[in-house]
């Protein structure tokens, strides 16, 4: 076993490469930032209309609702909230995953590092500028204390981990499902609806709201935004997200072992 420090350096470098790889697609990222901004503005007007008709809906005032809109727009790129799949899915379909599994490294950590590098790049290009534009145009809720920033940062980071954990499972499902387009599409729907991307989950009454808010997708958008707005207890929020992230990553580790067995023993 190589020393821990070397292993850390390896994954750090993979994250750096994930960042650099995505920065070579600058035009795509800028187009994404533009789309995020435009849709953010459109969504904001829809939410403003809704909150003017029903003030205080879901426990938010109108400024909170617009803030929710732009912060959730900011999650789209880094967390791939419309179900964008990991490159791994393509490698499973092409059989290249056999090469990945042969490397003296963990496929899951490798993919995670790569995805976090990508997420960080998209955060800078596709999340920060649209949010600043939204703040300039509409005025967003300011954080109640300075501590809100690191608290939101931690919650957003757990959202990223949860999103990766989910998308990794979806990508590996291609090992067992010949045509994974259906799974990808379903994942996109689940992620965009149950995360609160379409409408904040807090406005759904009764059991639908309760179920929606208990899902891993809620841990990606709804919960971090609530942490920012101060409408959800910090520790309860972090524990909820941490539990989902841990559960999905643990399932991912099991799925990785299963995929290895399938490739090595059954031949893919």
């Amino acid at each position: 076993m190589p020393p821990r420090e070397t292993v850390f350096q390896l994954y750090l470098r993979i994250a750096l490469y994930g960042f650099r790889k995505h920065s070579t697609y600058r035009a795509a990222a800028l187009a994404g930032a533009f789309t995020n901004t435009v849709f953010g503005i459109l969504r904001a007007y829809v939410l403003i209309a809704l909150w003017e008709a029903r003030p205080g809906l879901g426990g938010y005032d109108v400024v909170d609702a617009v803030t929710f809109c732009f912060l959730s727009q900011a999650a789209i790129g880094p967390m791939q909230m419309f179900g964008g799949s990991l490159d791994l899915a393509r490698r499973v379909r092409s059989g290249d995953v056999a090469i990945d599994l042969m490397r003296p490294a963990s496929l899951q950590l490798w993919s995670l590092a790569d995805d976090l590098g990508r997420a960080f790049y998209l955060l800078l290009v596709r999340s920060v500028p649209p949010t600043l534009i939204g703040a300039a145009l509409f005025g967003l809720t300011a954080p109640q204390t300075v501590w809100r920033w690191p608290e939101f940062g931690a919650s957003f980071a757990l959202g990223l981990l949860t999103s990766f954990g989910w998308r990794y499972l979806i990508a590996l499902s291609a090992c067992w499902i010949d045509d994974d387009r259906g799974v990808q599409a379903l994942s996109g729907v689940l992620m965009s609806f149950f995360s609160g991307m379409i409408l904040p989950l807090t406005i759904f009454p009764g059991w639908l709201g309760a179920v929606a808010q208990a899902t891993p997708w809620a841990a990606m958008v709804q919960v971090p935004v609530d942490v920012y707005l101060g409408t959800r207890g910090l520790w309860e929020a972090l524990a909820f997200q941490g539990a989902w992230a841990a559960a999905l990553l643990a399932l991912g580790a099991l799925a990785t072992a299963g995929a290895r067995r399938k490739v090595v023993i059954q031949g893919g």
Binding site: Q9, L10, I14, R20, D96, R103, P104, V263, V264, I265
Partner: protein, 256 residues
């Protein structure tokens, strides 16, 4: 260095044979294969399409476990000791790449250094050597997706050798290369084997590769070895003036 003892590998194919019925049928990609390769040998591994060459290589590299028999590479059971083996073996699949598509070639090498925990000094020295022998200098800084096939192949080969493995396994590395790229690759492989003593197992459909490089040839057909001997022995299986192509074609069609 490589020991294969009565190794077999079969795959179960399932196909629809009616509305509800599914037929299972077993393909024996490799059956009862026995051979060993000594350190420093340069062995050509030939056979028609579908003969079981890639399956053999996948068993040697730990991507597939044998269904029967035993495989040892550098003293290790490949599929069980994947991590330990990875440090001693270099693998190149002509049809796939291990390089990072969007990044300069040099970045992939740097990653290999971390992956195999290669000491910085050794890494610099080996890279400088490979850079010269494989003439990588002019495209080290170019993203892999923009490289020609010949350049990419040289890059893949360098990436497989940066951790100085004692065995190199190549699955159709010359596929699709032009004559100049082929010649460069051959010269490099010959030198690697002669100077460093690296054991090489090479599958190819290019008999020029075999004639110029291999001291020993194995032919596999329908999952079984149909020939194992020196290049001279191989020629001796056919009438005198036959070209090497004819000799091999006779073996493939079972006329040898």
């Amino acid at each position: 260095m490589i020991e294969v003892e009565r190794a077999g590998r079969s795959f179960t194919h399932r196909r629809k044979a009616g509305v509800l019925r599914r037929e299972r049928h077993v393909v024996h990609a490799v059956r009862d294969l026995t051979f060993s390769v000594a350190p420093g040998e340069f062995v050509g591994y030939l056979g028609p399409n579908g003969a079981g060459k890639s399956t053999t290589i996948k068993m040697l590299t730990g991507i597939l476990t044998p269904t029967t028999g035993r495989v040892r590479v550098a003293g290790l059971d490949p599929s069980r000791r994947r991590t330990a083996l990875a440090r001693r073996i270099g693998v190149v699949f002509g049809q796939r790449t291990t390089l990072w598509w969007d990044l300069p070639l040099r970045d992939s090498f740097e990653l290999v250094r971390h992956l195999y925990n290669v000491d910085q000094g050794d890494f610099r020295r080996r890279l400088a050597e490979l850079e010269e022998l494989l003439d990588l200098g002019s495209f080290l800084h170019i993203p892999v997706r923009q490289l020609s096939l010949g350049q990419r192949m040289r890059g893949d080969l360098a990436a497989a050798l940066l951790h100085a493995p004692s065995v190199l396994v190549l699955d159709e590395p010359t596929i699709g290369l032009d004559v100049v790229s082929k010649a460069a690759l051959r010269a490099f492989l010959r030198e690697l084997n002669a100077e460093r003593g690296t054991t090489v197992l090479l599958t190819t459909h290019d008999l020029g590769d075999v004639e110029r490089l291999c001291s020993r040839v194995m032919v596999i057909d329908h999952g079984r070895l149909s020939f194992d001997g020196t290049l001279g022995d191989l020629r001796a299986t056919a009438p005198e003036e036959s070209s090497i192509e004819d000799v091999v074609a006779r073996l493939y069609t079972g006329g040898g």
